[in-house]
Symmetry: C2
DNA sequence: TCTATTTAATCAATCGTTTGATTGAATTGT
DNA sequence: ACAATTCAATCAAACGATTGATTAAATAGA
């Protein structure tokens, strides 16, 4: 079964209004919450079932065990984040390739903006990021689903925009690596939030703080884009 | 008891050659390994004791339980990483404040270089980063020890260098936030290694790949420094 | 009715911790 | 100086609690 077919099946299984679909949804929702907060090993099936207001045996019945429920969570994340990315990256790569440098830069910054807003303000984003990060930390060799459904397309679009905005070939190693520094900045700003709050003497990240973060990352990315564009003529 | 006093005590307790010191060292070493790999909840005291080649009861005896051993690991990290930083950041802040912009930029890049090499190549660094990240993810409100002993001093030095290199005041929010984007780039490049390897079609990060990473991050940071320096005259 | 789903109860296994016994090296008393 | 005692340290064994999984009976939906 192909990746997208699996996600379509999952989507249908979760969006229908059969009683079984609701139980599945509740279980995934609950598992996502607890896995993200306490980690996989730190979460008991009883806790998951209790939050989902269902019986422990439901986990085995619907997902054939705790491990299956985790995999369902991964698929769910791949699906839902894929939806978010579909909005952000609604343009196909071929469209991007015909953009002017200015247009591409604006699009890239808009995409970065959305990602910052999502990571910094969305409550569910916190759980998703925790879940993904724990998965990468614990099973770095089993991140294929997440890469193919989330990070692969994201990196593809970002690198292509970066290429259009700077005039550098999208195939160059430097540009592909630069994409990581670009995304790394904004993701780290969320991961290290406890340290950011301490350092900036903030109590929380509200609208004002969000704008400050956006401003700094914009400036950093614009500087990098300018420099990479210069490199075009230098090369 | 002050933080440094606690760490001095810990250092003495671990470096002496009494039988108890060796057992403590072995237990912390083992716990660091397993906590970093499988997480706190995912690691059993039996596994820890087995790797440390001692009895399970030793954990309760020396650290009054699993939780105490985790705290000892945190203190150990704060101590050892503090030592690493002491070498990297051997200059006092007052010395930095008398550097020329060129000198400060060179020092900043040298510091970034060391951090990249450490995070990308040091085997222990992988465990430390995993441990720290899991801690930040799971107990964001209990990261005081790590902040005060590791990230606080690091951010202080980096921001001061950034200030000298750009002419911007070290107290400005923009500069303090820029420090996070700076450090975030290189840390993320290590955290997201599974994705970096997939994207770059690398099998591992060897000397050549390390140089490519350094080159890109150097370029990104230099671009940011140039831009922030321009901002001095613009403001 | 007949299948799909939920439920309470129970399973063996593993969890962190505690126990009491044992060791050998200090410390004490004479 | 030497036996008596105390002490820190380690050990195997067992504790009650909790884990993920499973069962068979009860319930719900078509």
């Amino acid at each position: 079964m192909s990746k997208s077919a699996m996600q379509d099946e999952l989507r249908e299984a979760l969006t229908s209004d059969t009683p079984s679909a609701k139980t599945k949804r509740d279980l995934i929702e609950s598992a996502l919450l607890h896995f993200g907060r306490e980690g996989y090993a730190g979460t008991s099936t009883r806790t998951i079932a209790q939050t989902a207001k269902t019986n422990i045996a439901s986990i085995a019945y619907h997902f054939s065990g705790k491990a299956g429920l985790k995999q369902a969570c991964i698929n769910f994340i791949a699906m839902s984040v894929g939806d978010v990315l579909a909005v952000v990256l609604n343009r196909k790569i071929t469209e991007i390739e015909h953009m002017s440098p200015e247009e591409a830069r604006a699009k890239l910054l808009e995409m970065v903006d959305r990602m910052i807003t999502f990571t910094q303000t969305n409550k569910r984003a916190e759980l998703l990021m925790s879940f993904i990060l724990r998965e990468v930390l614990h099973s770095p060799d089993e991140t294929d689903t997440l890469y193919k459904a989330v990070f692969g397309p994201l990196l593809d679009r970002a690198t292509t925009l970066l290429s259009r905005a700077t005039g550098q070939p999208a195939t160059s190693d430097e540009l592909k690596l630069a994409t990581f520094t670009l995304i790394g900045q904004l993701l780290y700003m969320r991961l290290a939030r406890p340290f950011v709050l301490k350092r900036m003497e903030w109590k929380a990240v509200g609208p004002e703080e969000l704008e400050q973060i956006k401003s700094v990352i914009h400036r950093s990315i614009n500087a990098l884009l300018d420099d990479l564009s210069k490199g075009k003529s230098n090369a």
